[in-house]
């Protein structure tokens, strides 16, 4: 069941991305509307996928690689929708769709087997820690996308050569505000994720902190984001520097998510 739903949502994401890309290039409002509806459909299907998998597996499906990445994509979509609902950032959808689709494809190609959960991980901290962290990642991913768009737009305005992006991307102010909002939501969530993880670790392994690679990298990521947020709120960093740093920090997020799991082994290796 969840398998079919998953296939359906990937397909819907694919179509939504295609529609958004068409809109990006030929600027027809009608296509944008279609893209948005497709995207909504995809998110609904995706939500159902996760619910279905919850019942099939019997635990919150954020343990295996497939589940984590899929949940990450879902949280990114949801973050985007919350923003879209509050205010529109022109053409943000295209970039979000592309990233979501990429994540879904990664999820699609990783093993979808439902593995019984190790007894040590069976705790109600699991859904809290994992979902809070991944939703934080969703906001941070959005900050990274906003930052990239900022850099693209800023480059054209600064170099005074107006190409593909100048007319298609929103104002620098809007992109910077997006970055600001995402960081101010994402960072507290990330902190919360770290704290809950630590409490769970105390329960599961008896110590708050192990210096296991995943934990270490999470901390590095946290410090990077702390730096951006700090600079933003105290010195008034904004624009290009904030954008670059939030992109770097997001790369660190991705490394925490994948690099650590595949390159460095630790307790977090998804139930293998």
């Amino acid at each position: 069941m969840s398998f079919l739903l998953f296939q359906g949502s990937v397909l819907a994401y694919l179509l939504a991305t295609a529609a958004y890309l068409v809109f990006f290039f030929n600027k027809q409002q009608k296509v944008r509307r279609i893209g948005y509806l497709l995207f909504l459909t995809a998110v609904c299907l995706h939500t159902l996928t996760i619910v279905a998998r919850y019942f099939e597996a019997g635990y919150t499906p954020i343990t295996s690689h497939h589940e984590t990445v899929s949940f990450f994509a879902w949280s990114l979509s949801c973050c985007y929708l919350t923003f879209r609902w509050r205010y529109t950032v022109k053409n943000l959808g295209v970039f979000v769709c592309l990233l979501v689709l990429a994540l879904m494809l990664v999820a699609a190609f990783s093993s979808r087997d439902i593995v019984p959960l190790a007894p040590v991980l069976q705790s109600w901290w699991l859904p809290i820690h994992a979902s809070v962290t991944l939703i934080a990642y969703g906001f941070l991913a959005l900050a990274c996308i906003g930052g990239s768009m900022y850099l693209l737009q800023e480059r054209e305005i600064k170099k005074k050569r107006f190409g593909l992006f100048y007319s298609r991307l929103p104002s620098l102010e809007a992109l910077d505000t997006l970055n600001h909002h995402c960081l101010s939501i994402g960072f507290p969530l990330l902190t919360l994720g770290l704290i809950t993880g630590s409490i769970w670790a105390k329960q599961a392994w008896g110590a708050y902190w192990h210096w296991d690679p995943k934990e270490t990298w999470s901390l590095v990521t946290w410090f990077l984001y702390a730096a951006v947020v700090h600079q933003r709120f105290t010195v008034g960093w904004r624009g290009r520097r904030a954008a670059i740093l939030s992109i770097i920090a997001f790369l660190s997020v991705l490394f925490t998510l994948w690099g650590v799991s595949f390159l460095l082994k630790g307790v977090h290796t998804y139930a293998s």
């Binding site: 737009q153 305005i157 600064k158 005074k160 050569r161 107006f162 100048y166 007319s167 929103p170 104002s171 620098l172 102010e173 809007a174 505000t177 010195v235 008034g236 960093w237 904004r238 624009g239 290009r240 520097r241």
Partner: protein, 430 residues
């Protein structure tokens, strides 16, 4: 008898980079350069136009090459090297010169096609030239014609309606930087017409506060009053930079008024809120390096050109219509010029006949100078009347449009018939 050649020399924003243009710009006003050309024998009538986007010299002369060399020498020898000058300067002769002038007047050659400022600048330049008595018969006619062409283009095409101006471009850019302009502050440095226009646009887009800094405070106060703004002295510029968001600079200062080092510390005070500098002055007011600073965007007049370029298509359609009007007017003027070529012949013919009649009258009546005033006037009248009657038919022949015989041929016939060319007293042997 050949008439003088009309020559137009110039540089504009299309052919010449700002760096060269600002050296050529007659920043000291028209007085001095017009003076410089005053006693130049090679040219007869002349006039100068200098705006931010162009410097043009229009003159009539006999020998084009010689006159060109001398004029350039007088005007620009101190500012730019000869090679530079020859590389950038364009030269139009006769019909081309006329066409070019019409295009300039109708704002087809402007950086922002359809903007209306150029006509005012043209009139201003012409006023200076007439005041000094530099223009004559041909240029007076030509310039007046160019004003009426501009009016015709404006009323018959929509080129001015979609006028995308520097100020429009600036607003568009400001919106890409600031998003909404509501609640933003703008600072005008120098209270020129262009700056005023830009400020008007910005206020129309929601800018709430206008601050004017000018060398003469009175002008600043006057302008600030229009927008319920505030006037400040030029020395307060750096303090003001902390408060405002958009700076439009258009002073006539020959030097930079703000440098990178001046602006850098301001950003810290501003907590990096973005600043948008618009430099519409030529020569430039603002250090181009300011653009390298983070969160600061500096556009000079050439950069704005690119923004304008993007909206070109709409106006290009109207521009085609305008070009047709100009071509029409250009033909009309060419005809007038050609008629002008007939004028010396007419004068010569008239003078020749008159001399003849006068000689015969004097032969019979004695010297006119020795007569009673009343008699003399009567005879003078008679002489004029006879002359008029005698030359009436040949003049009709000259002036009336003829299908198979061109004007040049008709002039030649008259000149041969009356032996106007092989005379030694200048009036021909009639």
């Amino acid at each position: 008898m050949r008439r003088d050649t009309i020559v137009l020399l110039g540089v504009n924003h299309k052919t010449t980079p700002l760096a060269v243009r600002e050296k050529l710009a007659l920043s000291s006003g028209y007085e001095e350069p017009l003076q410089a050309l005053e006693n130049l024998e090679e040219i007869r009538e002349y006039y100068l136009l200098s705006t931010c986007n162009r410097v043009e010299i229009l003159f009539t002369c006999r020998d084009v090459d010689q006159a060109r060399t001398r004029v350039l020498e007088r005007l620009f020898v101190d500012s730019v090297s000869t090679e530079d000058l020859h590389q950038h300067i364009y030269q139009h002769i006769n019909a081309d010169a006329v066409g070019h002038l019409f295009q300039v007047a109708a704002s087809l050659d402007s950086m922002i096609i359809g903007e209306s400022q150029i006509l005012g600048q043209l009139k201003e330049a012409y006023r200076h030239a007439t005041k000094k008595g530099c223009t004559g018969f041909i240029l007076n006619k030509l310039l007046h014609k160019s004003f009426s062409v501009a009016k015709r283009v404006r009323s018959e095409t929509r080129i001015g309606a979609s006028a995308v101006s520097i100020s429009y471009a600036a607003v568009e850019l400001a919106r890409k930087i600031f998003g909404s302009l509501a609640g933003k502050k703008v600072l005008l440095v120098g209270a020129g017409e262009m700056a005023e226009l830009a400020a008007e646009h910005l206020v129309g887009q929601g800018v709430t506060e206008v601050v004017v800094a000018n060398r003469t405070l009175q002008r600043a106060v006057d302008l600030a009053r229009c927008y319920n703004g505030q006037a400040v002295a030029l020395d307060e510029l750096l303090d003001q930079l902390q408060q405002v968001d958009i700076i439009i600079s258009s002073t006539g200062s020959p030097d930079l008024i703000l440098r990178k080092e001046d602006v850098r510390p301001v950003m810290r005070e501003r907590r990096n809120r973005p600043l948008f500098f618009i430099d519409i002055a030529v020569p430039r007011d603002l250090d181009p390096a300011i653009n390298d600073l983070d969160n600061i965007y500096l556009y000079d007049i050439d950069d704005l050109h690119n923004v304008v370029e993007m909206n070109r298509y709409e106006r290009d359609k109207e521009a085609i219509k305008a070009k047709r009007i100009i071509a029409e007017e250009q033909l009309k003027f060419a005809k007038w010029l050609a008629n002008m070529e007939a004028t010396p012949t007419i004068i010569q013919l008239r003078a020749g006949v008159e001399d003849l009649v006068r000689a015969e009258v004097e032969k019979t009546m004695g010297r006119l100078g020795n007569m009673e005033e009343m008699d003399r006037l009567g005879l003078e009248k008679m002489i004029a009347a006879i002359t008029g009657k005698v030359v009436y038919h040949p003049l009709c022949y000259l002036k009336t449009e003829h299908h198979c015989i061109s004007l040049n041929e008709r002039i030649k016939t008259i000149r041969d018939l009356y032996q106007l060319d092989n005379s030694d007293n200048g009036h021909g042997r009639i």
